[in-house]
Every structure is written in C-alpha cells, then in structure tokens.
C-alpha cells in the first residue's frame, strides 16, 4: 500500500468525490438509519419490557440467534473440510466445485428456500430418508438451521482458502518428523494460523444468518413459538401497521447483532495483538 504523503491532494476531484460519496450515503443509509434510532429512543419503555416478557417474541429471539449460531458453527466444521480439500487435496473437477461454492450467494434466497423445502419435506428426495429415523427438517427448527447453513456456506470457505494457502508446510513437516500426531499438528500448528480467518468467516456467516428472511419463511412453516424468526415477527408488525412495535423489535435486533459482531472483532483484535505480524 502506498501513501501519497505530502502529495496528498495532488489529484483533482477530492472535494467532489468525497462530497458525492457522503451525500449519497447520507440520503440512502445514514438518515434512514438514524431515523430508526431516534424513533427507538423516543419510544415508551414499556414496549421494550413487552419484548422481553412476551413468550412468543422471546421464542423467536432464541430460535434466530441459536440457529444462526449453530449454522455458522456447522459451516466452520464443514467449511474447514471443504477448504482444506480444495487447497491441499485437489482432485479432477475441483475447480468446478470451487466455482460452485458461491452458489448460495448467487441464487435468490426465495429460490433456495423453495428448493430446500421440497428436498426436506417428508415426501422429498432427502426428507423421506430422514423420516425413517423420525427426523423432521422442513417445518421444524432443524429446517431453519439447514436454510441458514445453506445461505451462509460460502463465507467460512472463502475466508479460509487464502489463509490455508499461506501456511508454510515446513512447520507441519517439522512437527510430524518430530513425532507429533496429526491431531496435535492441527492444534499446535494449523489452528493458530487460521484462527483469524475462522473468526472472520464465522462472524460473516453469523451476521448473514441473523438477517436471513427469504429462504427461512418457506422451510420453517412459520409456526408461532416454534419456527418463527425475528424478521418474520417484524414483518408481521409492519403488516398490522404496528410501527412502534416493529421499531422496538428492529432496534433490539440490530443492537444485539452489532454487539455480537463487535465482540467477535474484539476477540480478533486481542489475538492479532498477541501474534505480531510475521514478516
């Protein structure tokens, strides 16, 4: 990265480009978002108390955060396996799989939603085999986890791939030649090197899963207390023109997810301070 230093504003167009950027962002993002915060701050406190006392809302919060967390965690495990295979154990057709990883980003979520639903309903291609074991995915909390894992799948893999490519194999080979088992090589050599990438991938996947709406509304069945997510509750309040209720819910959700993302960033920062950049 180059710093221009003393030749700072040598290029013309600074005021114009920065001004346009700020105006555009303010009109579309900042003003609308601050409107929500002003409205949220001026609301009657009882509305917030209701949120935390209403069992239906609490159930939705629990489902949304828990299933997002589980989905991001599952992606951590399978994402590692897929990324490791793509980087270390390539096989013919690997580049096709690599290209396909971004599919959940490219496919509209409504399409993902109905495709997953028809796969996992009791008569579906996958659901009928799961049904034998009494596992119900579609129209059950498990379906929410499946949908959220699908839509957030690329994040962990795409964060991990460059980190895995950067690991120098000499360390692993040295550890193995000194008699370390594969498991201890993983925890002593590989895991510390990919921890920042894992955290980034996890937080991106988690944040994405928290806000997901399109795919979940199809697979979950939207049963109150059971498979209802927060986004759906907010949409419901809006349909009834209960804008105060929607504001309170939206504010609490945004605050909670910002705080979780912030704490992940703090963990990241904590580790990056401990491990000085190798150069």
């Amino acid at each position: 990265m180059k710093k221009t230093g003393s030749q700072n504003h040598f290029l013309p167009g600074f005021g114009l480009s920065l001004g346009f950027t700020l105006v555009y962002l303010s009109l579309l993002v900042l003003v609308p978002l601050s409107l929500l915060s002003f409205r949220a701050l001026s609301l009657d406190g009882t509305l917030y108390r209701d949120i935390f006392q209403d069992p239906r809302t609490l159930a939705a919060f629990k489902l949304t955060f828990a299933s997002s967390f589980i989905a991001a965690g599952l992606n951590l495990i399978f994402g590692f396996i897929v990324a490791w295979t793509l980087v270390r154990f390539p096989f013919p057709g690997c580049s096709f799989i690599d290209a396909l990883i971004d599919l959940p980003f490219a496919l509209p979520t409504a399409v993902s939603g109905i495709a997953l639903t028809s796969l996992y309903v009791r008569s579906g291609m996958v659901g009928r085999y799961l049904d034998i074991f009494g596992i119900q995915v579609a129209f059950a909390p498990l379906g929410v986890v499946v949908a959220l894992s699908f839509i957030s799948l690329p994040f962990v893999i795409r964060s991990l791939q460059p980190a895995l490519k950067d690991i120098e194999r000499e360390y692993e080979e040295a550890a193995i030649s000194l008699g370390a088992s594969p498991i201890s090589v993983f925890f002593a050599v590989i895991f510390p090197a990919i921890r920042p990438a894992l955290l980034t991938g996890f937080s991106l996947a988690f944040a994405r899963a928290l806000g997901e709406y399109g795919s979940v509304v199809f697979i979950s069945g939207n049963m109150p207390m059971k498979t209802e997510i927060i986004s759906l509750l907010i949409a419901g309040r809006m349909e009834q023109f209960d804008y105060d209720g929607a504001t309170a819910l939206a504010a609490v959700t945004l605050l909670a997810s910002f705080m979780i993302l912030l704490s992940i960033h703090l963990i990241q920062w904590h580790y990056s301070r401990k491990i000085q950049p190798r150069s």
């Binding site: 990265m1 180059k2 221009t4 030749q7 700072n8 040598f10 290029l11 600074f14 480009s17 920065l18 346009f20 950027t21 555009y24 962002l25 579309l28 993002v29 900042l30 609308p32 978002l33 409107l35 929500l36 396996i81 897929v82 490791w84 295979t85 154990f89 096989f91 799989i97 396909l100 971004d102 959940p104 980003f105 490219a106 496919l107 509209p108 979520t109 409504a110 399409v111 993902s112 109905i114 495709a115 028809s118 796969l119 579906g124 291609m125 996958v126 799948l153 994040f155 795409r158 806000g211 997901e212 709406y213 399109g214 986004s231 907010i234 949409a235 809006m238 804008y243 939206a250 945004l254």
Partner: protein
C-alpha cells in the same frame, strides 16, 4: 502400526469423500430439484408458467429495478472507491465501514427503515401528501430498497484493487496535463475494468434476487408491485408448485451465468495486467445477503 504414508493417503481420501458428499448433497441436489420440479408438469406447463402475463410483469419490474439500481450504484461505487483510495483524509476507516453498513442490516429491517423514511409518517410525509405521491407499496419503493441493499457491491470490489494500484499513474497523467475525466477514462478505468465488471455482476445478481426488503415494501399487489422472487412466493403459497419452480429455474439460470461470469472475470484479473495482481480469494461481496 500403519506407515505415515498410509495415514496421509487415508486422510486425503476421507477429506475428498466428505467434500464431494457435502457439495453434492448441499449444493448440487437443490439445483437438480429445481429442474426436476419445474419440468414435473411437462414442457408445455413449463412454457405456460414462464410466459404467463403475471410472470412477464414480474420480470419487467425486476428488470426495471436492475436498470435503475445499476448505473446509480456503479457511479457511487467508482466515486466512493476513488475518494477512499486516491486521497488521504481523516475518518477514512469510518467512511469505509459506513459503505459496508447495508450488509449488516437485515433485509426486513432495511425495508422497515425505508418505510419510516419514505412513508406517510416519514420525513417527507407531508411533502408527499401535498403532491399526492405514495412511494411505499409502489414501484419506486422496490427500486429504492434494491438500491439500499446493493450499495456496497461495486465499491467493495474496487477499493482493494485501487488501493494496491496507488496513485502514481494518475499523478503522471495529471502532471502531463490530462483532465480529471481523461485521467479516469484513460488511466484508471483500464486498470479496474474487470473488477468493475465483477462488481456489476454481483449487483445485478443481488438486485434480481432481493426478497426481504422488497417483500415488506411492495405490498404484494399482483401484476403491479411484484418482482420475480415475490412472484415465486405467491405461486408457491397458492400451491402452484410447478409454476413456482419454473420461474425459479429462470433465476437459477441467471445465478449459474453469474458464477460463470465470475470465474471468467477472476481469470482475467489474474492473467491480464501482470503488474497488478489481485488476490482471488478475498471474501467476495455477498450478492445475496
């Protein structure tokens, strides 16, 4: 004892098998289901579904949203990336975080925020009432929601690349007497064209597929404020599964084209312009979040 060579071959095989099984079950199977369900009623039913007037109207609205969103966010992306990478100023990282903010706002909440902003009780409420304009639950609302959710895509693709390229070439051009526009079109643009095209592809993919924000803002007025994803929802909820999947197959085709285009642009980025190598694996902007 097994030899270490045996263990490493075995672990290689296990990893490959799990990956193949996971990708086929999780990524390829959903695609197969879309195809098989959409042709479940035969070719004629498929063609009827995708040529139904409601489908065509939804297609038109989706197209309109893309056509309006794309130039605005491309312009914004280029200008914002230029401002962030060609100059030094305070608060730069804050501005960069602000550009990413729409990624972090759940789509339904984004839609709600825009209702507060543009609705009758919003900031411009009295103004809108005066001119008897109703923005929410109408076409402009859908366009603005799409605009909101796709703001970061072009800028996100351009910023790392332009940061890496620095400002030397532009400074040389300006000191030789080129105007700002000339500098941009003859010096900067050729350097960033593939990343720009990739950003455009991501923006198009996301604007066609946006569901949450558009859903709460549209009012679901059939034939009027329904985009393709909303049309799929309506058909699906009416148990018209074949038609829902037929329309889905159109969007799936576009998604696959997006992936092919993405591979092509990355290949171009890494093979063309040997001076400026781009890291392929930076986490891509997320066209569906």
């Amino acid at each position: 004892m097994f030899s270490s060579d045996y263990i490493s071959r075995l672990s290689r095989l296990i990893f490959q098998v799990i990956t193949l099984a996971f990708v086929s079950l999780f990524l390829i199977l959903p695609l197969c289901v879309i195809i098989s369900e959409s042709f479940g009623g035969g070719l004629k039913a498929y063609l009827n579904a995708i040529s139904h007037p409601d489908t065509l109207l939804a297609l038109g609205l989706t197209f309109l949203a893309v056509i309006v969103t794309l130039p605005l966010n491309v312009l914004f992306g280029i200008v914002a990336a230029w401002a962030l990478t060609k100059y030094e100023f305070r608060g730069k990282s804050l501005l960069s975080a602000l550009i990413d903010l729409p990624f972090a706002v759940p789509p339904v909440i984004a839609g709600f925020i825009l209702i507060l902003y543009l609705g009758k009780h919003g900031v411009f409420g009295s103004l809108l009432e005066k001119f008897d304009l109703n923005i929410i639950f109408s076409t402009p609302a859908i366009v603005i929601a799409t605009l909101f959710v796709t703001i970061p895509f072009v800028a996100r693709e351009l910023i790392p690349l332009m940061q890496e390229q620095g400002t030397e070439e532009e400074q040389a051009a300006v000191s030789l007497g080129a105007s700002t526009l000339q500098t941009f079109f003859y010096v900067t643009l050729p350097n960033i064209k593939w990343a720009l095209l990739y950003g455009i592809i991501l923006t198009v993919a996301r604007s066609m597929g946006e569901f949450g924000a558009v859903s709460v803002l549209s009012g679901h007025i059939r034939g009027k404020t329904v985009t393709l994803p909303l049309h799929i929802e309506i058909l699906y909820n009416e148990y018209n599964f074949t038609a829902a999947f037929a329309v889905s197959s159109l969007l799936m085709l576009l998604a696959l084209l997006t992936l092919i285009a993405k591979e092509f642009f990355f290949w171009k980025l890494n093979s063309g312009g040997s001076v400026h190598q781009v890291q392929e694996d930076t986490v891509p902007g997320d066209p569906a979040s």
